[in-house]
Every structure is written in C-alpha cells, then in structure tokens.
Amino acid sequence: MFFETLRLAIQAIISNTMRSFLTVLGVIIGVAAVISMVTVGQGSTDQVEANVASLGTNLLMISSGRGGGPNSAGGGGTSFKLKDVDAIEDQIAKIQSAAPSSSSQVQVIFGNNNYSSSIVGTDNRYFIVRDWDLSSGREFYESEIRSGTSVCLLGQTIREELFGSGNPLGETIRLKNASCKIIGVLEEKGASSFGNDQDNVILMPIKAFHRRIAGNQDVTMIYATVRDGISTDKAKTEIENLLRERRRITTDEEDDFDVRDMKQMATMMTSVTGVLTGLLSSVAAVSLLVGGIGIMNIMLVSVTERTREIGIRLAVGASEQQVLMQFLVEAVVLSIIGGVLGIVLGLLLAYAGSIWLSIPFSPSLSIILYAFLFSAVVGIVFGYFPARRAARLNPIDALRYQ
C-alpha cells in the first residue's frame, strides 16, 4: 500500500508541474541561501582563525604598560631590559623560548629608492617564537648578536620595494644615520589579522638597534612561546608573577605590563567575525522565510483545487488516512527534491564565493541539516495541514468548495 501511496503522490506531482515546480523552488531558495551564506561566514571565520594561528597559538606577547595593541610599543610602564627576557626563558620551565623585540619606524634608503619600514631589534630566538623561516641568506651569528654588528634581514615587502627582482644579499642599506649590511631575506608572512603588513619589516641584532637606532637599552615587547601541551594560562600567570617580582609591584598595585595570549586575540577576532556570520545568517534566515512564504502561498492558492480533488478522492472511496498519507508523501517528496537541489546549489554558490573572496571553503553539516529540516517542515506543514482540513470536511463540502 505504501508504494501505491507513493505512486499516487508522484502522479499528483507530475500532473501539477507548475505547482510542484514553484514549491520546489521555494525550498531551493531557502536552503541554498542559508547554506551559501553560513558557509561563506564560516569560511571567513576560519580565515581569521588561520591568521591568528599564523602568529602561533602558543605565543604570548608581553608588553610594558597596560593596554595598547600587540604592535604598539605600549606606554606608561617602565620598558623591559634584556635581562627580563633571559629571566623569563630561564626561570619559567613552561616557556620554550622568549625573544626580545624593540621596534621603530624609519625611512630606509637604497640607491635612489627609499621606503618607510619597521625596524625590529631582536635575536635568533625571534625566528623560533614567530615561527618564521628565511627564504635566502642566513640568521645572525652569535658574535653579531653579542657585539651588535650592523647586519639585517629584510621582509618580503621592503625587499621588493628596494631591490625589485635584484639580489639584496651583501648590499648595504641606510637606516636613519646607520648603515646596515643585508645577510638574509625572510619568507612571506602575509597580513596580520589586524590588516597590517607583517612583511614590511627589517630585523637587526637588538644591541645594534639599541646603539644605532634607539639610543637606549629598552625592550618594548617580549615574545614567548609556551611548551607544547602546556596551558598558556598557567604560563601566563607564572610570567605575571615573575615580572611583578622583578618590577617590585606590591600586591595592592596593578600590573604595569600586559601579557597577551593569542587565544585572547583569537577570541576577540572570532567575536568580530561572529558578528559577520550573524549578519549573514540573518540575511539567510530572511531568505528562508521568503522561501517558506513562497511555499505557503502556493499551497494556499492551490487549496481550492486541492480541496475539490480531495472531495473527488473521498467520493470514489478513499479514506481520510489514505488521502492524508498521499498529501504527506507528496509534501515530503517535494521537500526532499527541493532540499537536495538547494543543498547542491548552496554549496556551489558557497564554493564560488570562497574562491572569489579567497577564503577557505568550510561547509558545515549541521547548517545543511538545519536548513533542510526547516524547509522540509515548512513544505510538510503547508502541504499537510490544508489537506487535513479538507479531508475532514463532509465530502460534499469538499466537492463544492469554491
């Protein structure tokens, strides 16, 4: 009997091509809109998370003074010294490596070219904590770090600006009043999650930076990586305690430094993209609603014809259950066809969008299921309930329904 019902339902779908098509279209629009929008939203969230992860999720950024972004020098508190960096690395077992960093914005000159760049004084540990490799040349020699020799490594942006396609290795560039010999080039890192160009950078030994650029012994920022498998929160607490002790901050005073966890950054960025995803989702929800209203309209408009049809079926001997089962199967079949087509279309749109926006394509099974279920429910509710009302009429009232 089930196959007979299925056959009746399919026969009714085929003989009412236009109505079936419009119903399916409603489901397709709703499902495709939700899936494409949410998938694109999810893709941009993943993109941001990947950016944050490119900084290293086990990275702690320690800056003097409260507040300020990760790239600002901070302010207010006393700057760190190189001894602070060593203390963090040596005294806290949870820390794998810590690198000092002092930076300054300077005009860089080579021949006739000049470009404003960020010069960072640091040492070889910087390559470890920032997870950054060289594309050519070499790291600093220990002797260069110890003595503060004026050698430097270029980021890809500044290399491109000053040398174009030429080989920068061995050349000498001028920064402020100092000159500096190029010993290596960094790999491309891309924009940070805040949108600034991480490749517009020049690295030099921190002692050379202190002597030739800054004129002081300050370390404005310490990058520290936590050992694998150790909670960054715990490492963060230990660093805070150590620094409070070293900086002689009494218990009732607030920290005059800031330890930032990449997880915090990730949370912050995710909340931004969360707003974006929320926005896209609400647009998608409206599409779903519009699709649902479309289905509802088709069903209600066809209710006259369908009520008469139900009257005929009852008159020739159908029971209420047989009629309802047929309409239910019909609604389910249409919803499934529309849902499957909507999923395919939605994924195609999302895929095209992810290529266009150069973000990852991250379809989510749960959204596919939710969109599908919603449309199925709308299709079934508006297909089934008018039919139920009609099937409960006296057959003669159904037959004469105007």
């Binding site: 003989s15 008469r308 009852l314 020739v316 001997g317 003669i396 037959l399």
Partner: protein
Amino acid sequence: MMVQTSGQKILINDQKTAVPLIAFKDINKIYGEGEARVHALNAINLNIYTGEFVAIMGPSGSGKSTAMNIIGCLDSPTSGVYEFEGIEVGNLNRYQRALLRRNYLGFVFQGYNLLARTSALENVELPLIYKGIARDERRQRALEALDKMGLKGREEHTPSQLSGGQQQRVAIARAIVTRPNVILADEPTGNLDTERSKEIMEILKKLNEDDGITILMVTHEPELAVYANRHIDFRDGIIESDSQCKREG
C-alpha cells in the same frame, strides 16, 4: 408496504418484504442558522429496493440533491435514521463510511468531477487503488470499463482533451469499475445536449437491466425520467409524489 408521504398513501412494491437497500426514517436536514435557516429535508421517509431505477425530480432547492448526498454518505442528516442494507449509517465512523462508498456506491456528478491533468485510465483506476486491487488487475478492469463505455483509444486522454459526453462516460466507467450495488447520478446530463443525454441514459438503463445495479438519478428533465421505473418528486423538502411506472422504450 406503505410509505407515508405528505398526507398521501401510495402503495409501492408490496411483494418486496425484504430489507430495503436504502431506508430513510424521518430524515431532516437543516442548513444555516436563524434568518438563513433552510429546512432542506423535512421528515423524509423513503425506501428503495435493489434493482430499482429511481428518478428523483423536483425544482431547484426542493431537497432532491440533499437527499442524494445523504444516501451517498457525502453529507450527514441533521436528524433521523438512514439505513443501508439494514445498517444504521449514522452509527458508522468516517472510515466505515469511506468503506461503504468504496465498496457499494458509485457516483456520477453533473460536473463530472474527474481529476484534472490526469488520464482517463488513471481516473478510472483511482477507486481500485483505494480498494487495494493489484496493479495488473486494476489496469485490466479499468480498460474493460472504458471499453464498455465506448472509450477505447481514449485511455490516455486527459479530461480537457475529451468532450462533455466523453468525460461523463469516463465518470461512469469510474463509478462501475468497483462493481457497486448502487449508482448515484446527480443530474448526470445537466451539462450535455439532448443527443449526448440520451446516450448517457441508455448506458444507465443498460447497467440497471443487464448488471442489476440499482440506480438513483436526480434530474429536472421529465423527458429523461422515462428511463426510470420509479419517479419521486420533491418539493420544499418533502416528497410530493412517489410512483411506480412502466418503462418506455
């Protein structure tokens, strides 16, 4: 057997003492409320026996179609008892009434009431699907019924591709395909010209005489009533006259 109708006493079919096929006992049907209240059937008593061909006549609004719909379980009376083969229909639930329609009754309507955009064959097969008849037998019986109605070669036509007379013959094929005891025809020729009307009446007469199907037909054309062997006249919700008559032709 005596039937009480509006003061007159008419003797009908006194040989038949068996249970009537259809019996109305004080059937009332009232539509609407207050000012708009219409007493469509007023304490109707009526017995119809197997094998009869009954023409139910009367002007519009006389209650003839209402009586027909109650007999067909398409509508329920406001009060009174309706018995089909001695079974009180009022005590049946909706499913049992569907079974009654499915197994005992066949309908022919003035407006044909075929499923649109559905082939003649599928329309005729429909009642057999609900009866649970297997596909091959169903097809066979539907083809036979259409053939009997002179519609061979039109099986795949949809209603919009058929003339009125042909559509009505599809509807009759649909009514007889379940081999019902009774055919209820509500103005079956109302939308047809004289020639087509005669064709349909001949078909009904043949079904009555050859297959022994009881036929109840509502009409307001006296010239068609001659095909019947019993005339019942309705007026203002009561039976005005009920007479046996010899069939002509």
